[in-house]
Symmetry: C2
Subunit: 153 residues, 2 copies
């Protein structure tokens, strides 16, 4: 999905977005900031690659991580809520999952959770993606943009 | 510069890195996290695209921004120090500058500052880059990786 479409949809509503990324590692932010004029709608994001950063910066509770793991819908929801609040954005997208090459928390490569937080709450989509590490990261970004675009329409 | 070389240099020292990005908007984090096994050395980062995020999340002082602007060596140094401390990393890379298409703070497109913070302090490199928005962003990431690699050698 073209990030420019998301930018224009946000611009039409006068709203902003932030992102919290784990497996995509900054690629989603790079897409959101790639459009000229992006600063009108994109505030920034947190790349919470390490679990400790999810907790200390985004405020994901340690008990949540202990109970559900970081590759979970619960973690995706907490990351989206956390960055939306931290950056004071109208909307937030989060990504967490297993890009590979190794499985994680007993979950196979391609297990991905995408969260979208907005004025009326947070919604999480679970995906089972195929492909290389790079393809899984890229498709996760794509699905995140699609989920936000849907929320905006 | 191949991010894998930076990853291996950090791995050999048992050290970690974080990043704080403005104009590169997540692309540097995406490069640092792109290498399989990156989680052993890359903790994460903050994409502080909006000035408010530089202040509220990274702790860049408002007076610094007022005096020097966000396109400044002072801001790059404060961003690198800020994210290194926030994520408790051994090293940090920061990027701030003008990717275009418009100039900013009276500074022409291609004006870029790259900071590297480490155990012995922070060093800032000022660049005047040419090219498209996308080329300037990419070359900034490249210079950031080179500066860190030099600091590690």
């Amino acid at each position: 999905m073209d990030p420019a479409a998301v930018h224009l949809a946000l611009l039409a509503r006068g709203e902003t977005v932030a992102c919290a990324e784990s497996l995509t590692g900054g690629e989603l932010a790079a897409m959101l900031s790639g459009t000229p004029g992006a600063s009108a709608t994109f505030l920034g994001g947190v790349v919470s690659y390490a679990t400790a950063v999810k907790q200390s910066v985004l405020g994901v509770p340690a008990e949540l991580v202990e109970k559900h793991g970081v590759v979970s819908g619960e973690c995706a929801a907490a990351m989206a809520d956390g960055v939306r609040s931290l950056l004071d954005a109208d909307w937030a997208i989060s990504t967490t999952g297993v890009a590979g090459p190794d499985s994680q928390e007993g979950k196979p490569v391609g297990t991905v959770f995408v969260g979208v937080a907005g004025p009326s709450g947070v919604q999480v989509t679970q995906l089972a993606l195929h492909g290389t590490r790079s393809q899984i990261r890229h498709e996760t970004c794509n699905r995140g943009l699609m989920a936000l675009h849907e929320g905006l329409s």
